[in-house]
């Protein structure tokens, strides 16, 4: 696994953490005060920070650090998560998401935005009032402000000192030339050859079991530390029980390291940054107390520098004992550490992030509880399994897609086989029963395989819904409205491809609801409504499709204005007598926009027509229900998968077509007495005391010029999304089967009235009918033509 793959996994995990983060923050925003929620939020940010640090994503680390600090204040009850705090937190989550995306895709994030937020976060953590939003930008790069808020200020003298000509340290260490070449994985970076000139620090390191359980390792940390300079490592094994009494996964060893380095304390702490919650770390300037060392037998210091890695046994094996003794000497001898470091200020910071004023992390107790429950009962808890209850694997989407394609081919192949067996029934009649039985089983198996494969791709809509909460926040901010997003049915599952394509139309519709749907706070109060507007996003399964609704409690569609606008734009004539539904649907007309002024958020030249098109390209439909004064509901109905569908294979004017089974209510053989003429060309069919318009599919699709005789054909009673039934007339029904959808758009181009294509058992291509389009085309023949021509 190379670095890029690991990074890819990190970003996938970030997605999950960001989702966690948002879920938690939204719960907190709704008044959830369960400490576990706060912990979960904290963990999410902390994990992102941890991973980002490993990949050197400094902007992300810096921002996550500030964010985490503030969250920690909330966690330790130093900061009340009131509305102001939550607002900043939610925005910070957005910025964190942006920074993650920027790190992944190479984009940039507005530095002013992140630095302003970082300042807000710091102010919150410090218990100060929020700085004025406009005053921030001079803080520039996101990395700058973010870096550990107070500790930096405190540690500044130390940092300065280290930059000046470092006073020589006569501790007796021999400067050893470094070579990274021998180290297998070591990053070839700055070789600190002048380490001996640096300052001396003592690092006390006591890892918890949690550190190991999370995949960190002391050896790796020390290797990073060794890059800062020369170090002497003393391992203390006093707490180590005997073999049988130990929990092999617990942590008993502690270490004391004397590091001579040119780097400052921050650099040292940074090495341990991602283990900081799982260990006790003390960094002090100067050497450890000589007496202590002298007495403690288990602490035999081993000098270490990276150049030693790579020449192992040769030098160590022969005389380790001697070596150990030899090196013990320098450590103890110049004990009163001549370290000319400004001891006072550094020492103040040293005992770990806790001491500074109020809100610095205060890491040990709380995080230990939150991040690794293992520490409390080390003997009982198994390592990683404590964290991950459900077994999951990550699979590249491409592989799943390949599998789906193959299963698609299998389905086609199976259909072909069935067909040729059917055609040759006489020749195989002897054993025909067996063959047919086998075919049936194959059919059943194929279907099960297909369902299982589809289930792999099925994902809850939750991530998309969560993204919408950000859209609501941002667009509400922009137009100065107070809006609450309510979501429902987030766990409704739908094919991944559908989910991926949902975000864009949803975003636009949500913006539209916030911008145009909801009234201003004053307007709402005047109408006797809660000044806070509500946008509700819900998802549910309904008859083999997913229905997503965006509901607002705004003023509803202003039909007079829509009509006027349509008149102005020449979309309708003054004589047009339109139903309410038809007026509402005008907003889906290309270029239609009723906003008097184009606002920042929804007036981007993208109209609802684009939304409609993108929903349609997914095989979906969209409809509006508007109630003046009370609000509007936009509902989208989408197929659960874009890969297969159950269809009825029919013939129309010598062509084979597939009609999605979900659209068909029933099929009937018209009797002559059932057919009635209506107007010049229209025909109706009587079905159980109701009349239903009869639509000749062949004529609509221009397969023939003259309408066929209904008595000769079959009528399929279909229900369109806009409500209302139509009887589609076809010549004959060939059968019913599952077909694999092959996109017409990607293989040819969009054809009105046709949703997609498929390959039949005999290898021929059949077109899949877009029932809604056919129905809407049939409503007004003129419109149908126009639509077909224009598309």
């Amino acid at each position: 696994m190379d670095m890029n793959e690991i990074k890819e996994i990190f970003f996938q995990e970030c997605e999950e953490q960001l989702t966690e983060l948002e879920t938690g923050l939204l719960a907190m925003n709704d008044g959830d005060d369960d400490p576990e929620t706060v912990n979960a939020v904290f963990r999410a940010v902390h994990s992102i920070k941890g991973g980002a640090g490993a990949f050197g994503l400094d902007d992300l680390v810096a921002f996550a650090h500030v964010f985490e600090t503030t969250l920690d204040c909330v966690r330790s009850n130093k900061l009340e998560p009131d509305e102001t705090v939550m607002k900043v937190m939610l925005k910070s989550a957005d910025v964190l998401a942006d920074l993650t995306a920027a790190a992944r895709d190479g984009g940039t994030v507005d530095p002013a935005r992140s630095s302003t937020l970082a300042k807000d976060l710091e102010a919150l953590a410090n218990g100060q009032p929020l700085p004025d939003g406009d005053a921030a930008p001079e803080a520039a790069a996101p990395a700058a402000p973010a870096a550990p808020a107070e500790p930096v200020a405190e540690a500044a003298p130390a940092a300065e000192a280290s930059e000046g000509p470092a006073p020589t340290d006569d501790s007796g260490f021999q400067p050893v030339p470094f070579s990274f070449d021998d180290m297998d994985e070591a990053p070839a970076e700055e070789a600190p050859e002048a380490a001996a000139d640096g300052k001396v620090y003592t690092v006390e390191f006591k890892p918890n079991a949690g550190l190991y359980a999370k995949g960190n390792d002391t050896a790796l940390l020390f290797r990073d530390l060794a890059q800062l300079g020369q170090m002497e490592v003393r391992c203390n094994s006093e707490a180590l029980p005997d073999l049988e009494g130990m929990d092999p996964e617990d942590s008993y060893l502690t270490w004391s390291i004397t590091l001579t380095t040119e780097s400052d304390e921050d650099a040292i702490r940074q090495v341990f940054e991602f283990a900081e919650w799982d260990c006790k770390l003390e960094v002090t300037a100067g050497k450890p107390d000589a007496d202590e060392n002298a007495e403690e037998a288990p602490m035999v210091p081993v000098p270490f520098d990276l150049s030693m890695l790579g020449e192992p046994e040769k030098e160590e094996a022969p005389a380790p004992a001697a070596e150990a003794k030899e090196v013990a000497a320098p450590a103890t001898a110049p004990a009163p550490a001549p370290a000319p470091v400004p001891a006072a200020p550094v020492a103040e910071v040293a005992p770990t992030p806790a001491p500074t004023p109020a809100p610095t992390p205060a890491p040990e107790p709380a995080p230990a509880k939150a991040a690794s429950p293992i520490i409390k009962e080390p003997a009982k808890k198994p390592k990683v399994s404590a964290v991950a209850p459900a077994q999951q694997i990550r699979v590249d989407l491409e592989r799943v897609d390949r599998l789906i394609n193959l299963v698609g081919e299998l389905v086609i192949n199976q259909a072909m086989l069935a067909q040729s067996v059917g055609e040759n029934e006489e020749t195989v009649s002897g054993q025909g029963n067996n063959i047919n039985l086998g075919l049936d089983e194959l059919n059943q198996l194929t279907r099960e395989i297909q369902d299982s494969v589809m289930a792999i791709r099925a994902q809850p809509v939750k991530p998309v819904f969560q993204r919408m909460s950000r859209i609501v926040r941002e667009s509400a901010d922009m137009v100065g409205k107070n809006v609450r997003l309510v979501t429902e049915g987030e766990n409704t599952e739908v094919d991944k491809t559908v989910i991926d394509k949902l975000a864009e139309p949803l975003t636009h519709m949500i913006r539209n609801s916030v911008d145009h749907g909801l009234e201003s706070a004053e307007g709402r109060m005047a109408a006797g409504k809660d000044p806070q507007g509500m946008v509700k996003l819900s998802a549910k399964h309904r008859s083999g499709r997913i229905v997503i609704e965006i509901e607002d409690d705004g003023a509803g569609i202003n039909r007079d204005r829509v009509k006027q606008k349509a008149l102005d734009n020449g979309l309708i004539t003054p004589e047009s007598n339109l139903s309410d539904e038809e007026i509402d649907n005008l907003i889906f007309h290309p270029g239609f926009s009723t906003a008097e002024e184009l606002s920042d958020i929804s007036g981007r030249g993208v109209g609802m027509d684009v939304v409609k098109k993108s929903i349609q390209s997914l095989g979906g439909r969209i409809s509006i229900q508007s109630n003046p004064g009370k609000g509007s509901i936009f509902s989208m109905s989408l197929p659960l998968t874009l890969a297969v569908l159950d269809g009825m294979v029919v013939s129309v004017a010598d062509q084979t077509l597939v009609v999605p089974l979900t659209a068909i209510v029933e099929t009937l053989q018209p009797e002559k007495s059932d057919i009635h003429g209506f107007g010049a060309k229209q025909r109706l069919i009587a079905i159980r005391e109701t009349f239903c318009p009869l639509v000749d599919v062949g004529e609509i699709l221009k397969f023939r010029d003259e309408p066929a005789d209904p008595i000769e054909g079959v009528a399929l009673l279909v229900e369109s999304e806009g409500g209302g039934q139509r009887a589609l007339m076809v010549d004959a029904i060939q059968g019913q089967r599952q077909v694999v959808i092959k996109s017409l758009e990607s293989n040819y181009s969009n054809v009105p009235g046709i949703a997609a294509a498929t390959i039949l058992g005999d290898g021929r291509v059949a077109l899949i009918l877009d029932v809604d389009m056919i129905v809407s085309a049939s409503k007004g023949q003129g419109l149908a033509l126009e639509e077909m021509m224009s598309a």
């Binding site: 391992c235 005997d242 073999l243 092999p248 996964e249 270490f304 005389a319 380790p320």
Partner: protein, 98 residues
């Protein structure tokens, strides 16, 4: 210390001594308790502090039992880890020095 004349049991360590290997290694060592043991770390490519910790605990136990536990041969990688962790040959002796 252990009886040098008797052939010690040899425990061959796997190439990856990360935290997943810790429990198995612990169990194997517990099973060898009471015998002189020579650890063969020649194949170790990757090792973590927890495995070293188990070895140290074993060493402590073996010492208390008056048995010998030594490192027979070790890979470069394993030697590096021991150095990084400040484990001297005195704490965990090799065959030659024991």
């Amino acid at each position: 210390m252990g009886d040098e004349s008797e052939a010690p049991s040899i425990l061959k360590l796997p190439d990856n001594l990360d935290l997943n290997a810790v429990s198995a290694m612990h169990t194997e060592l517990v099973g060898l308790k009471g015998q002189d043991v020579e650890i063969d770390a020649a194949d170790v490519r990757k090792s973590g502090a927890q495995c070293v910790q188990v070895l140290l605990a074993a060493k402590k136990t073996w010492d208390a039992d008056g048995k010998s536990l030594v490192i027979g041969s070790m890979s470069e990688a394993f030697g590096n880890t021991l150095k990084l962790l400040g484990i001297s040959g005195e704490v965990l002796p090799t065959k030659e020095t024991a």
